[in-house]
Symmetry: C2
Subunit: 677 residues, 2 copies
């Protein structure tokens, strides 16, 4: 087969997916010829071929080139299946691989008996898909064998591929154009007894006897069965692909060094609760790291100025839904860099690994803007609704209770207009809002639904009077049919509450069938966070004590630290915080000042870091992205548990093996522990 | 620049390294043109280009093609420096990058002030190399600035590259043909005080005041300084490169799925001591996994039949030299596979990632052969010396003490001939051998050095008599000048002792300047291990209880389990065990039999695995390679600590941060621990 033929057979199927963007400067295309040669065609090659070969030029016309100078890669709908998915295994193809072009081939498949009917048809399943097998009428031996087998038996089948008869093709199956006439079946293993759920139908069935929690627990207990479902298989394969792209972007394109750092370490002051690990020395414990923060700074100080790691991290946060005691970060750090450069690096990385095309650079807003406009530092910008300050419109409204709140400390009135929201403001919604106001420490939230003429109603409308209502509606931008939600009191609390109501009302409208959020990923950088926040009277780091002050605010750290902004930046996706980065303090004097004077910390546990900064530390910064959440969002999975092979339950238990569990008397002794009586 | 020019400029520098092997079927070549385009040229391309373009054919002649059908990659001496090592950073080049061709360029470099002399010459160092800077005579401002700076100050320098004057080139430096005339220097940071050691000379100096242990401790305490040394930098970059190759081989070429598995789990019965992690539930602990063994089997049972992971593992082995409490495995598993296929996969993987060319397949010997010929299950086959059974030659030698040993249980006489070893058998060596014999539980080892005529001498020669000595020399194959070492007693102990003496004598000869071991990596598979071994009267698994019996010995597991061989296979490199793999038991009945009847284990902690096997488990097998050791051997590093960024000391302490350490009273309470009084 000639190279041109390879190119042809590679590009035609690619373009037929219709979702390819090829930058001709730096990219590779995987050859998907039927010979599965696995060749990677380089971007440079494509360009040259276009110059040198008109046939190839024609093939390239179907491709949409991306902006020149960016690193793109072809978006393949399902590249996995066309690679060498069967090398070193006893099969010629996977169960998701055969197509009409394979008719006539002799093949060998391995998989699970998913379904059988009429002593003639079998569905064989593996992790890649399903294939229909036909038992020949004349071979009673095979039909009797299959008849005797329970579902989920493990089979090796040899046979011949043939086209399905006209009208019997199944468009819902990747292999729906063909079937395999079985010539021989070897039973590799059989289930010993009936399984706790049927792999084929469990996720589709809505058996009222199984409540969602019980089903979730059952799925976790029999995770190895749950993993046989297509959805989980695809999520884990997607994760592997994304991680591979991230690694190649960093190591191959940008010469980062993949460095493993310890997880058994010493507790970092401040931060989350860390698991402790007893040792053979009485009273001495390792801590399981909550991030490689110290190590990555020490690596840059040690001259490894382009570090990254897909790092396992640990946090003991007790029982929290959708958190895991161990989780994974894409962790990286550079020396001699800046916030803008780290952001550009991350944008390129996500552009490379994301399943859909992303537009870069991502928009940026400041922390202050985010709080003002959205009432949260991780706004979901898939919809435009913004908070509006309406204090002036209500300043002399004559309502005592309201004026008192406005004149209190940090008093303000803030409004959120829910477009066309008046008709979604049911009793139930009102009750939920009242509870949310209480949680936010506010007396309540006022709802002023606008009628068809744009006049505000609700309990507050009469006491405010028509003129004030009209001024309020104008200030907030409420039109006919809109719902105006009004919170008054300390400004921070009012904004936080309305930020939550914003999400709540978006959910409420979407449950009612209204499309509020735009489709697709909406990444956003939130920048210029405060460096410190006040908690119970004292200043604590808003993120961690190594965060560098904003370039304009370095003196402020000495004069009025609470006012200092930081060079911390969060990456937010669809309302989720998916990453946090910062420039770090590299001057030992400034770091000591922050630890001792501002935070009042004992510096002894960090003496090694202070010594390292004092040994000639370059300016440096980096970021950590939460891989579990990122993959869940990319895969459209509702929970991070759907993109983790063996997740713990929401209270941190392994329901399959039964961890945590008791330990032996010898271990109590070895680790100087005392058995609870 | 034309594509042909790219190809030319990529191949010429590659061939000049003289160590390239290119398989034309599947490989990529990184373009190393001066433009640093970063393009990857595919193997298919090369072949086609050869057919289509005679100029390219000429270029390809310098390449030595590997065996067709194997996955090779070009061996680049230093590919890292030519990639985009400065993107997202404030420099145009690294300190190891500039060459004669760059003369005339304006550049910006960042790095550490390594050395200065005559107020004129500066050596600037970063993680990639060093560059000589020249301060212009007319700019006194710069020379005064540099004069005031301590070594290890962090600088950003802009300047112009120029060729060094004739005769001043430095062939030992990659950048030795050029120097950079500094136009501006920015001081980014300065060390606060003198550093505990000089980065430039610490590893070379042999200060008698610093003993090796103290130096090692100092290096670990100031690891961030130690990391600035070229050797450690290169080791960590080599590790990153090897891991990248392994990942690409598995994910890109062979469609493996990279899956993270938990480290917080439940203790697996048997095996090494696992660290325990207390939880908020009294008396309930996680264990830190010693390997992902159970998870990888469960993944294959769950349909993910091509799993791999670079996995962090934990073992609490107390203080052991050159072991770490946390370590890294290349862990993989396949369904529907065989031992031979797993071995072939691993051979391809190592062939891909190894810095030198490897010959595959690797040789295989059985456990029984290894013990017979080398007295160890991890023989160093870089040298040929083999043990020889000489029982028959000594059977009726007339020496009571010897005959008693031969007639004892399992009695045998085993000899090792050290070629040309007679003159290396000093008093000190004899004393060491006596100690080693004692450790092996034997009365001693007899040395019979042969004289120039091949006559055996030594204390045993006279009592044995000339005839027996001559028979013994002939049986063992000892010639003039050789040293014959003789051990008699229980055969296993005698062989184990001589296996150790074999290594010891090879070291002794090499210390005396004799070349014993061939250069390069000598991989070896050891197969057909026993499935069980007897320890303190009862049978235990030789490796782990999930290991599958040898195909010929399945019935033996039921009849006489101690005689059963396993489908376990070890990968040995230069005398180190670097990996262990096996086929696993996939039938629940056989697994229950092994656990309950043979091993007498409580199956409750493994019920989930037994259930999983009973749910339709495919035949499966896999391997785990010790990455730390593998990289150390590839890098020629004496200790695994030299390829780990932040290793613990040999007793498991982090000497830099001081871990393990005490924990707070709150943590004692949270985790139901009792503070030692």
């Amino acid at each position: 087969m000639s190279f041109q033929h390879h190119l042809m057979s590679s590009l035609i199927p690619l373009t037929s997916h219709g979702t390819i963007a090829v930058d001709l400067s730096v990219c590779t295309v995987q050859c998907v010829c039927p010979q599965e040669c696995g060749a990677m065609l380089a971007g440079r090659l494509l360009r040259v071929w276009r110059l040198a070969d008109t046939a190839a030029t024609g093939l390239l016309r179907g491709l949409r080139p991306g902006p020149v100078g960016r690193t793109l890669q072809p978006r393949l709908a399902a590249p996995a299946a066309v690679r060498r998915a069967s090398s070193f295994q006893h099969r010629t193809h996977t169960c998701g691989q055969l197509r009409a072009k394979d008719a006539g081939r002799s093949v060998s498949l391995c998989g699970w008996l998913q379904f059988k009917r009429m002593r003639k048809f079998i569905t064989l399943r593996d992790g890649y898909g399903v294939t229909q097998l036909i038992l020949p009428d004349e071979d009673r031996r095979l039909s009797e064998l299959v008849d005797s087998l329970p579902l989920e038996s493990v089979l090796q089948v040899t046979g011949a591929v043939r086209l399905r008869p006209d009208g019997q093709q199944n468009q819902d199956m990747k292999t729906g154009d063909i079937e395999v006439v079985a010539h021989d079946i070897t039973v590799l293993n059989k289930p010993e007894r009936e399984l706790p759920f049927n792999v084929r139908s469990f996720n589709k069935a809505t058996d009222p006897a199984i409540c969602p929690q019980a089903k979730e627990a059952l799925r976790l207990q029999y995770r190895y069965l749950d993993l046989r479902h297509t959805e989980l298989q695809e999520n884990l394969r997607r994760r592997s692909q994304m991680v591979a792209e991230i690694r190649e972007y960093l190591v191959r394109d940008h010469d980062f060094v993949d460095i493993e750092t310890p997880t058994l370490f010493r507790r970092t002051p401040g931060g989350a609760q860390e698991f402790v690990v007893p040792t053979r020395w009485p009273g001495q414990f390792y801590s399981l790291v909550q991030s490689p923060q110290q190590f990555k700074q020490l690596l840059v100080i040690g001259g490894l100025d382009r570090y990254f790691q897909i790092a396992r991290c640990y946090r003991d946060e007790g029982a929290r839904p959708d958190r895991q005691p161990e989780f994974t970060q894409v962790d990286l750090e550079l020396g001699f860099t800046s916030q803008q450069e780290v952001q550009a690096l991350v944008e390129g990385m996500l552009h490379r690994c994301w399943p859909q095309e992303l537009v870069t650079p991502f928009p940026r807003i400041t922390f202050s803007q985010a709080m003002t406009q959205y009432g949260t530092d991780k706004p979901d910008v898939r919809f435009k609704w913004r908070l509006v300050t309406v204090t002036r419109a209500l300043r002399s409204c004559g309502l005592d209770v309201l004026e008192k709140q406005l004149n209190g400390p940090d008093g303000a009135a803030v409004a959120l207009v829910v477009p066309d929201g008046a008709r979604h403001h049911s009793r139930a919604v009102q009750a939920q809002h009242a509870r949310m106001a209480e949680q936010a420490g506010l007396a309540g939230v006022s709802a002023l639904p606008a009628d068809g003429a744009g006049r505000l109603g609700g309990r507050l409308a009469a006491p405010l009077g028509a003129e004030t209502c009209s001024r309020l509606a104008a200030a907030a931008g409420a039109g006919p049919g809109d719902l105006l939600l009004l919170a008054a009191g300390p400004e921070g609390a009012a904004r936080t509450l309305l930020g939550r109501l914003r999400t709540h009302m978006a959910d409420t409208l979407e449950e009612a069938g209204v499309t509020v959020r735009r489709a697709g990923p909406h990444f956003l950088w939130v920048v210029d966070f405060p460096l410190f926040v006040r908690e119970e009277g004292r200043l604590v780091s808003a993120h961690h004590p190594f965060t560098r002050p904003h370039a304009e605010d370095e003196h402020v750290v000495y004069l009025d630290p609470e006012q200092a902004r930081s060079q911390h930046f969060d990456l937010v996706l669809n309302g989720w915080e998916v990453g946090g980065g910062s420039m770090r303090i590299h001057e030992p004097a400034l770091q000591r000042h922050v630890l001792q004077k501002v935070l009042g910390e004992d510096t002894a546990p960090l003496q090694h870091l202070l010594d390292a900064l004092a040994s000639g530390a370059p300016p440096h910064g980096g970021i950590a992205l939460g891989l579990d959440r990122l993959v869940a969002l990319a895969a459209g999975a509702p929970s991070i548990r759907d993109v983790i092979a063996f997740p713990k339950s929401s209270d941190g238990r392994d329901l399959m093996a039964g961890a945590p569990s008791d330990i032996s008397r010898e271990e109590y002794e070895l680790y100087h522990l005392k058995k609870p009586s």
